[in-house]
């Protein structure tokens, strides 16, 4: 199965070809890019069938050798990596097909697809990597791809700022990841994951190192997966083209952090303290982001906070000690969130509006978009029997029965209610209710005119339909089917694999909470919108805090202005005054002064030079003679 390396290699090759020869290719290289990612998907299917026959395997070749350590790079074909390859290649393929129409006529059409290929290649390499060093290289490649795509319309200042913010925020976490990897290498002498797992299991790694390295690696994962307090970049990342948001939010970027913790879970299992931290961060993220999503007005921003919240759920599942369940939720969320963002792009394409207050009644005008969007949204809110319901239920069960405190269950249930509220709100505001109007100036007078809307072309709706169907049925793989022992056990290669289980009271409570709060919200919005406004007025403080997103951006801005810039000013002063004036200009001035003094030795009279030569020769002779 060493051919699995082709999955990242083909898109990477496509990137290079499009970059160099894109302008002469049909569709500026778009078709090549789509073909490449489709080939990756084929590789996935072939590898999946092979793995079913012969089991997971690792292939690696030597990379370089230094100081007695051999560094390798290779692919690890295992259930967890193949699952990710499947998600990434399929979602990327759908999004690239969608982009054909969405990005039509853009000046940098070819470049867009080239970077898409790069992004997908980096992510595929990341999930297939068999050692941490190679994984880190791919990890940074993903960061680069996201930077280029978020800042795709860099002429817009906000897009350039968002790209920078995403890159720097994730970089801060990445520093932690790199140090964590190096700590593990120093302790075990290997980057190979299996070797590290063996060393940890054999107790060869000291407790302190293990705690620090797992914590630092979690920092990297929290940065990429937008956990509090690194979540700030993700909502801004919607400045990129909408299909890019779909890609980042569904498959290629934010999934990396959850995947990293899941794949390194044998290490985390040995550090229960870190699992508590992960669970705490995940629960905070899940609840906080879901609450912020309730008051946001930009359609993509609501979805972005929804993503942050769901990533929090995945982290919570990891913290509860269930990587399989986290991966199940990742899978269900990837398909559903891709549909939601593609739907948002379709709405934006059809109406040229981004604010949900300017939308309404789109169900009739954009039926395909509406139906796929609604299915995906209620799936994520946890409505049975859609995919999101099963994964969410599994998470809640893991939290209630696992190693975690009951408080986590309460937080998770509140987050479920909050998710249901924002889901109901966005569905109602966009697709139901009164037809939207927007204020424009017509012949010098302000008028409210109806928003024009039309359904998007087939190239855009077909990917949405496919993704929505897959997202709706992902719940099926959680069950046992003959030899297949259920997804959550299969993916972690656990021997006591078993299918999904239900805790009756919890399932009922979560489903009732989700559906009930959605019904309540829709009824309120429909029958008495005034009461919603009144309700908001009653809690001005909560309203303001949520609208300012818990003041995270303000806090960071304050930190940058007051601390970072002050320190930078100090360093700058030191550089100008001490390093430049004294260190660099000082020797230059001294040399100049001495040169000016000494030049008067040059009389130009040649008998002076002759005398100097004669004296020198005599002195040399005397010295030689005296010896």
């Amino acid at each position: 199965m060493e051919y699995a390396f082709l999955a990242p290699a083909i898109p990477a090759g496509a990137f290079v070809v499009i970059l160099l020869f894109g302008r002469w290719l049909p569709g500026k290289g778009a078709y090549l890019s789509i073909g490449a990612i489709a080939a990756s998907l084929v590789v996935f299917f072939v590898a999946l069938i092979d793995m079913n026959d012969s089991g997971p395997e690792v292939f690696s070749i030597d990379w370089f050798e230094v100081a007695g350590s051999t560094f390798t790079w290779g692919v690890s074909v295992s259930p967890i990596s193949l699952t990710m390859v499947g998600i990434v290649s399929f979602v990327s393929l759908m999004i690239q097909v969608y982009s054909l129409k969405y990005m039509e006529g853009d000046d940098r059409f070819g470049w867009y697809f080239a970077v898409h290929s790069l992004f997908a290649a980096a992510m595929l390499a990341l999930v297939l990597a068999d050692n941490l060093l190679f994984l880190y290289v791919a990890w940074e490649g993903v960061g680069l791809g996201s930077y280029l795509l978020i800042g795709f319309w860099w002429e817009r200042r906000s897009a350039a700022e968002a790209a920078k913010k995403a890159f720097i925020t994730t970089r801060i976490g990445d520093v932690g990841l790199l140090i964590g990897i190096i700590l593990l290498f120093r302790e075990t002498g290997s980057f190979e994951m299996s070797a590290i797992f063996d060393a940890v299991e054999a107790g060869e790694v000291s407790k302190t190192v293990l705690n620090w390295s797992t914590f630092l690696i979690f920092l990297g994962a929290a940065g990429k997966s937008a956990q509090v307090p690194f979540h700030v970049w993700l909502p801004d990342a919607m400045e990129g083209p909408t299909p890019v948001s779909a890609l980042i939010h569904a498959a290629t970027m934010v999934a990396a952090g959850v995947f990293l913790i899941a794949v390194l879970f044998p290490i985390y299992e040995a550090t229960p303290f870190m699992l508590d931290i992960i669970a705490g961060v995940g629960a905070t993220t899940a609840l906080g982001a879901a609450m912020v999503a309730i008051v946001m007005t930009d359609m993509k921003r609501i979805l972005a906070y929804s993503t942050v919240s769901h990533l929090g759920f995945m982290m919570l599942a990891l913290g509860a000690g269930e990587p399989g369940i986290a991966m199940l939720h990742l899978l269900a969320h990837a398909f559903a969130k891709a549909v939601l963002f593609l739907g948002a792009g379709s709405v934006n394409h059809g109406t040229h509006q981004t604010d949900v207050r300017n939308m309404g009644g789109l169900l009739r005008k954009m039926p395909i978009t509406a139906v796929t969007f609604i299915i995906a949204a209620i799936s994520l809110a946890g409505v049975p029997p859609l995919g999101g319901f099963f994964s969410k239920d599994e998470i809640l069960r893991a939290v209630s029965e696992g190693r975690l405190n009951e408080a986590y269950l309460v937080i998770a249930l509140i987050a479920v209610v909050a998710s249901a509220i924002y889901t109901a709100r966005i569905i109602y505001k966009v697709f139901f209710g009164k037809d939207a109007t927007v204020e424009t100036v017509v012949r010098g007078k302000k008028r409210r005119v109806a928003v024009e809307a039309h359904e998007s072309p087939l190239a855009m709706t077909a990917p949405m339909v496919l993704l929505a169907i897959l997202g709706a049925v992902t719940g099926a793989i959680a069950f046992e089917w003959g030899d297949f022992g259920g997804f959550t056990g299969w993916i972690v290669q656990s021997h006591e694999a078993h299918g999904i289980e239900f805790t009756a009271w919890l399932t009922v409570v979560s489903a009732v909470l989700a559906i009930g709060s959605m019904v309540v919200v829709v009824r309120m919005l429909k029958s008495s919108p005034g009461r919603v406004v009144a309700l908001r007025r009653q809690f001005p403080l909560a309203q303001r805090v949520l609208e300012r997103k818990f003041y995270f951006d303000e806090l960071y801005q304050w930190g940058i202005d007051r601390l970072v810039l002050a320190l930078a000013g100090l360093v700058g002063w030191f550089d100008r005054r001490v390093v430049n004036d004294e260190g660099v200009d000082g020797p230059a001035k001294a040399t100049g002064w001495w040169a000016n003094e000494l030049r008067f030795l040059q009389t130009g009279l040649f008998y002076n030079y002759a005398a100097a030569m004669a004296i020198g020769a005599i002195v040399a002779a005397v010295v030689w003679w005296a010896q």
């Binding site: 008067f600 040059q602 130009g604 008998y607 002759a610 004669a614």
Partner: protein
């Protein structure tokens, strides 16, 4: 009285000192060149004296003579070139007095 090595060396040293004095003290470029010839010939006298009288096998002593012939050849070429330069200098500047030739100073 037989000639001894010391006599050659005293003659050589005297010639060299006179030549050195001439190079340093004369102001006329032509006289400086003449003094340089004295320096070279002082060396030649020394070499010939060594070649004739030093206590060495004959096939080693012959190097002194060979070297002296080299120096004569080179000094002939040198004086030809130097005189040409002095001549051009005099034509262009109207003087060969080295006191006045200080355009290379700081």
């Amino acid at each position: 009285m037989d000639l001894e090595l010391l006599h050659f060396q005293i003659l050589s040293a005297a010639l060299f000192s006179i030549g050195l004095y001439g190079v340093l003290a004369r102001r006329s470029a032509v006289l400086i060149l003449v003094s340089i010839e004295l320096l070279l010939n002082a060396v030649n006298v020394n070499l010939i004296g060594q070649a004739a009288l030093v206590d060495r096998p004959p096939d080693e002593r012959v190097f002194g003579q060979v070297l002296a012939i080299f120096i004569i050849t080179i000094s002939a070429a040198e004086i030809g070139l130097a005189m040409a330069i002095v001549l051009r200098l005099f034509r262009n500047r109207g003087t060969a007095n080295t006191d006045e030739l200080d355009t290379m100073k700081w």
